[in-house]
């Protein structure tokens, strides 16, 4: 196990460096002085410009800037936006809300996705099976912002079941509606994955053995079928998380959740490119780390993984 962890961490390092470098290089490749954009129509004095260039290290060559940034990241300093805010401060303010929203969404998608998928898989060909496949197909094809507007309009405004936007301090109750929207797409994927995995597992020899030796249904289904069907669902959590990051940007913007996603949403609308880039970089870093965590979890759950090269 220890070697698996070490190998997996070592594999993450080039991905981590490569991904941040790629974003950095993309931004760097664009012609034009980013600082001039700060002043709009006015022409800044050369002294001020020189001071700012010095402050943001813009006179250094590309690789020096990049490695300075990377060094700071490893020391826990994620940089400063051109509007003078520290990225750390933005994250401290917004990240807890995003985390709560994401947790709620993950719980919803797993609870409903796994239970619906299990029932659909056990009753293949039934009306429930067909209906859940159809619903998942519709959910997959609805872009998240369309779904968010529909939910906001129908459940929030017309029926009044939820508050259409999140209030001050983002209480848990207000987060339920955005979390449902955020969970919807992954719910569809989890459902389908669980269903096909249950279909495969329920014909395995050990399941027939369990039925054959007379175990009750309440033991065969959760312990023998469900537990072994959950492995692919766990692996897919990483892909789910990527969808979650993008989805959070849209849903937080629409439902006014004071999280990282809304910060990015507003930065895009303000054309604050440096802030867009720094938030995207942070999100990519989180994504890479979460991927690593899920892989380690996977190794813990499925011993076969640890020994495969």
């Amino acid at each position: 196990m220890i070697w698996y962890i070490v190998r997996r961490i070592l594999q993450t390092i080039p991905v981590f460096i490569g991904a941040t470098l790629l974003i950095y290089a993309m931004v760097f490749a664009v012609p034009g002085d980013p600082l001039l954009a700060l002043f709009g129509d006015k022409t800044p004095s050369p002294g001020l410009l020189a001071q700012l260039r010095d402050y943001y290290n813009l006179d250094e060559p590309f690789y020096v800037q990049y490695f300075t940034y990377l060094g700071n990241v490893f020391q826990g300093d994620l940089g400063t936006t051109f509007s003078g805010q520290s990225v750390n401060e933005i994250l401290v303010r917004t990240f807890p809300n995003t985390l709560r929203l994401a947790l709620l969404a993950i719980v919803i998608q797993l609870v409903f996705g796994v239970s619906f998928g299990l029932i659909a898989g056990l009753r293949k060909g039934s009306i429930f099976d067909h209906a859940s496949l159809l619903i998942s197909l519709v959910l997959i094809s609805l872009p998240v912002f369309v779904l968010a507007f529909i939910a906001q309009f129908v459940l929030g405004i017309e029926l009044g079941l939820f508050r259409p936007t999140v209030g001050r301090g983002a209480p848990w109750a207000d987060l339920v509606l955005p979390a449902i929207v955020l969970a919807a797409l992954n719910f569809a994927y989890v459902l389908r994955l669980t269903r096909s995995s249950v279909l495969e597992t329920r014909n395995q020899d050990f399941v027939r053995m369990a039925w054959g030796k007379g175990l009750p249904t309440r033991r065969v289904i959760p312990v023998h079928i469900l537990r072994n069907s959950l492995i692919p669902v766990t692996t897919n959590l990483a892909a789910d998380f990527g969808i979650l990051i993008v989805g959070a940007t849209v849903t937080e913007g629409i439902f006014n959740v004071p999280g990282v996603g809304r910060e990015l949403f507003h930065a895009i609308n303000r054309h604050d490119n440096p802030e867009v880039v720094s938030i995207v970089t942070v999100l990519v870093i989180i994504y890479v780390l979460v991927n690593l965590g899920i892989d380690l979890l996977y190794g813990l759950l499925d011993p076969r993984i640890r020994y495969v090269k």
């Binding site: 080039p14 991905v15 981590f16 490569g18 991904a19 790629l22 974003i23 993309m26 931004v27 664009v30 197909l137 519709v138 997959i140 094809s141 609805l142 872009p143 998240v144 912002f145 369309v146 507007f149 529909i150 906001q152 309009f153 405004i157 990527g242 990051i245 993008v246 940007t249 849209v250 913007g253 629409i254 990015l264 949403f265 895009i268 609308n269 054309h271 490119n273 867009v276 880039v277 995207v280 999100l283 990519v284 994504y287 890479v288 991927n291």
Partner: protein, 319 residues
């Protein structure tokens, strides 16, 4: 003693020519229907209602994208009267008006080509990158494989919509269909490359590939004539679903405010985004383009899934 033994007549049976082994080989039934992966898949597809529904929607979308003028005579952008702002349906204007007083139906019809061309160009980019890199990595193996796949891992680590947001933020002044397609496509090929690579690794083991090597075909020729045609099927499936994802991504980028400029391009995403502020008073201007968008995406996803099921003999057998 032995002379008394009667001679046993063992009848020597000589098979007629058409009954022997050689005859059996020769007896290829000429009228037997040809069978290969694609023909089998087609026979399977013919009988599925999901295939015909999605094919019909896709055909309709393509026709609308090519000739929007066949369906509406209203100008989508010019001659909008503010007096009609957020107006309801009228004769000749079945879906009402936008906030700017433009005809909603006409804007949807004219926006189709934007979505479809972005979807197609993204798919082209993804197929070119995915197939070339995936095939090289799988076929040549070794350090080429490691290098290409590690590069794929890096690109894969950046969710493609986030990458597209960064790219589009950099191109403020010259956003067009090519730029937005590149922004989406350049970061979504790794999945295709991985799938093709694993297919190529599987096909590479086959006897016919070894035979073509034994016959002295060059590696490149073997790859193009034997390996690629036999490993391309899953790529077609992911590409169809990916086309749907690209259309959805274009709309999402427009919604986020980094899509195509809405004064030049008609785009469903832009229209949905613009209708957002009137959600409470006039939800239909938001709902109609959303329906067009979702139906198109649904059609391509359904097409991808039915084709996937049809191409997979195991799925065919257990269905």
């Amino acid at each position: 003693m032995s002379s008394k033994t009667p001679v046993r007549h063992v009848p020597h049976f000589v098979a007629k020519v058409d009954e022997g082994g050689l005859g059996a080989i020769d007896a290829v039934r000429v009228r037997e229907r040809k069978s290969n992966l694609w023909l089998d898949a087609w026979r399977d597809l013919r009988g599925r209602w999901m295939f015909w529904i999605s094919a019909a929607i896709i055909l309709l979308v393509v026709v609308v994208a090519l000739f929007p003028g066949l369906f509406t005579h209203e100008p989508p952008n010019d001659g909008c009267l503010l007096a009609n702002s957020n107006g309801g349906p009228e004769p000749g204007h079945p879906l009402g008006y936008t906030k700017q007083g433009c005809d909603v139906f006409s804007r949807i019809m004219h926006g189709t080509s934007t979505s479809l061309s972005v979807g197609l160009i993204v798919s082209l980019i993804v197929v070119v990158f995915g197939v070339v890199l995936g095939a090289f990595a799988g076929f040549f193996g070794g350090w080429i494989d490691s290098l290409l796949m590690r590069f794929g891992d890096i690109v894969f680590a950046i969710p493609y919509i986030l990458a597209a947001v960064v790219i589009m933020s950099m191109f403020v002044h010259d956003r067009n269909i090519l730029v937005i397609s590149a922004a989406i496509g350049l970061f979504s090929w790794p999945a295709t490359a991985r799938i093709l690579r694993s297919e190529v690794l599987r096909v590479k083991q086959s006897d016919y590939v070894m035979a073509s090597t034994a016959l002295g075909l060059s590696k490149v020729r073997t790859m193009f004539t034997h390996v690629l045609p036999n490993s391309i099927a899953p790529v077609i499936v992911v590409t169809t679903v990916g086309l749907a994802a690209a259309i959805s991504a274009e709309a999402t980028l427009s919604f986020l405010g980094v899509g195509l400029p809405n004064n030049i391009y008609m785009s469903w995403g832009n229209d949905i985004s613009a209708a957002q502020s009137d959600l409470r008073t006039n939800p239909t201007t938001l709902i109609y383009p959303s329906i067009a968008l979702s139906l198109t995406v649904l059609a391509f996803i359904m097409m991808g899934e039915t084709v996937r099921d049809a191409l997979d003999p195991r799925a065919r057998a257990t269905r």
